[in-house]
Amino acid sequence: MQQHNLTITAKHQPVVLERLLQVTRYRGFNVVGMTMFPVSELEQLTIELSVVSDKSVDNLKNQLLKIIDIEQIKVEDQALQKFMA
């Protein structure tokens, strides 16, 4: 099991949070921490999500990026920091 921290930028739409959590669970990741706050006058959200799984976090990232209202995802592993798309 490895923990990954994802920083997600999303449009502030009503369904985006549920979709994010649904895909995360379905793809086999457990949420162990989450913070969110609106940015740019409520039009965008930043969501910090900590997940654990033995699955590939790249695959999760690619699935999450398919959510229409998610704009960007940055993934950090516990040890090293990787910046992606």
């Binding site: 739409q13 369904v15 549920e18 690619n62 229409i68």
Partner: protein, 552 residues
């Protein structure tokens, strides 16, 4: 103009001329507007039928399919159709009525949280909260459904928003109906792919449904004509490679041909094009093409490295990436080996006795039907026999529920296909189990005189499940005996549909010809032996070369 009128106007501006649905309280304003609209509405007799009809319409025509349902049970009845569209990447827009905004969240009559329910079975879903948002919601839904990897989108519209008056209009069609795809082909990956292809000694082209959906059938055919790489197809890819292509080995996977499965297991380079390494294709994943390098062409980044790590990924539009990587090869011994397998393992249609051999009947039907025919199937043995023994000129001519394997798909999908292609023959090959799952759609055939031909392969069993019980569950035939089926010909007659039942080989030719020549819907019930099985069969969790060819 009301929100309901605006909804129809925007749909119309985007080229939608036919929709499938079922009315009810929360969507009555929209139905009231349909009363005066030039959009043709087809009343299906169950919302699941409407959703599958929209799928059939979309897949046969490559346009967006639209279905409508009321709130609560109407909306929940769409779910299976949406799941099918999600798994098979079909551009469908579902519009559901919702209880009025003031009642929402109060457990109102026929209120269901369809947004919550549809999350897992749609590419995107929105609830409209303001009448002014209708144009954008619909335009975005159509564009999302048709772009990138296509898929279903649901729009939930509360009743008060359907009746609200507004001055806004639509912006008009954006980029029309048709698959659009982001192009991101990378020079380095292209060069790497070309190198791998030209160095391979035993390459195989693994063709999936994505090729047809990307409108890249001719690019794929040119690629394979130039490279002369032997090819195999998934269920959804059938019709992409020409059936008479010299080096086409047939369908691979659980019920694939011996030639296709052996070739893939032995190949040193697997070129996956618009395919996703589904478990029905790969069998035991670890042993699937285990000596092969992999090149993966896809539109969906999330499919790359999902089930199989690849050596080169080519993301983006196949229409661009296939021509960019097409090279000649020098693989004569491998080509000859594959040719040998194609000949040695060709299907045999001789069969002892009087009883009808479904593979031979379907193969005959395939020869008799026009090239432009659309064939849909339900799910089970008849589906696999259709995939094995019929040939399709284009992938949009063969519609089957692939990813979900949803029984009940065949008849309503054929209705949708026939509505989108009124001048082509449409045949639904069904099983006696599956047929009963959306049998109410016979009323839709009757109501609109839709001339779908139904070939009902009747083994008086849930055949595919029975086959598994025979092989893997010690012949314990739990709940798969359907010998108390209704009289299907009489049932068809009740809907003014002509039909006949055949039981012997000598009847086959004449019956198929009569059905094809009949001007209107027709039901041909074909009685077969209840113990007939689909071969080959790769047992669950076995490698694809471990095909069974008889009950041991």
């Amino acid at each position: 103009m009301t929100g309901a009128e605006l909804t129809l106007q925007i749909l119309q501006q985007h080229g939608v001329d036919s929709v499938f649905g079922y009315p009810g309280g929360a969507i009555m304003p929209l139905y009231d507007a349909i009363y005066d609209s030039p959009i043709k509405h087809f009343l299906c007799r169950h919302e699941q039928g409407a959703a599958f009809a929209a799928v059939g319409y979309a897949r046969a025509s490559k346009k967006v399919g639209v279905c409508l349902a009321t709130s609560g049970p109407g909306a929940t009845n769409l779910i299976t159709g949406l799941a099918d569209a999600m798994s098979d990447s079909v551009p469908v827009v579902a519009i559901t009525g919702q209880v009025p905004t003031v009642a929402m969240g109060s457990d109102a009559f026929q209120e269901v949280d369809i947004i919550g329910l549809s999350l897992a079975v749609t590419k995107h879903c929105v609830q409209v909260t303001n009448v002014e948002d209708i144009p954008t919601a619909i335009e975005e839904a159509i564009s999302i459904a048709l772009s990138g990897r296509m898929g279903p989108v649901l729009i939930d519209i509360p009743k008060d928003i359907q009746v609200a008056e507004t001055q806004v209009g639509g912006k008009g069609p954006m980029n029309g109906n048709g698959p659009t795809a982001v192009d991101c082909h990378h020079d380095l990956a292209i060069e790497q792919a070309k190198t791998l292809i030209s160095q391979a000694k035993k390459p195989v082209l693994y063709v999936g449904g994505g090729v047809g959906m990307a409108d890249a059938v001719s690019e794929l055919r040119e690629f394979s004509q130039l490279s002369k790489i032997p090819s195999v197809s998934t269920l959804k890819g059938l019709g992409t490679v020409a059936a008479d292509d010299e080096y086409y080995l047939g369908m691979l996977g659980m019920h694939g041909t011996k030639a296709a499965n052996y070739a893939v297991q032995q190949c040193d380079l697997l070129i996956a094009v618009g395919a996703r390494f589904d478990d029905r294709v790969t069998g035991k994943l670890k042993e699937f093409a285990s000596n092969a390098k992999v090149i993966h062409f896809d539109i969906d980044q999330a499919e790359v490295n999902k089930r199989r790590l690849v050596d080169v990924a080519l993301l983006g539009d196949l229409k661009v990436n296939l021509p960019a990587t097409a090279v000649t090869t020098d693989i004569a011994p491998w080509q000859q080996y594959c040719r040998r397998m194609i000949i040695d393992f060709a299907w045999q249609y001789d069969h002892p006795g009087e009883k009808i051999f479904a593979p031979a009947l379907l193969n005959k039907l395939s020869q008799l039907m026009p090239d432009t025919t659309v064939v849909t199937t339900d799910v089970g043995q008849h589906q696999m026999w259709t995939a094995q023994h019929m040939a399709f000129a284009q992938p949009e001519n063969f519609l089957s529920s692939g990813g979900q394997g949803a029984m009940g798909f065949g008849l309503p999908a054929a209705i949708g296909a026939q509505v989108s292609r009124p001048n082509d023959t449409v045949i639904a090959v069904s099983g006696d189990g599956s047929f009963m799952m959306n049998v109410q759609e016979l009323a839709t055939l009757k109501r609109y005189g839709i001339p779908v031909k139904i070939v009902l392969i009747d083994n008086a069993r849930l055949g595919m499940v029975r086959q598994w019980q025979q092989i893997f569950f010690e012949e314990r035939y739990s709940e798969t005996d359907l010998s108390d089926n209704p009289d299907f010909v009489m049932l068809a007659q009740a809907f003014d549909i002509k039909g006949q039942v055949i039981t012997t080989k000598q009847q086959v030719d004449a019956a198929l010809k009569e059905m094809l020549a009949h001007d209107g819907p027709y039901l041909l019930q074909v009685r077969i032996d209840e113990l007939d099985n689909v071969w080959p069969l790769v047992p669950p969790n076995a490698a694809n070369e471990a095909m069974l060819e008889s009950v041991k």
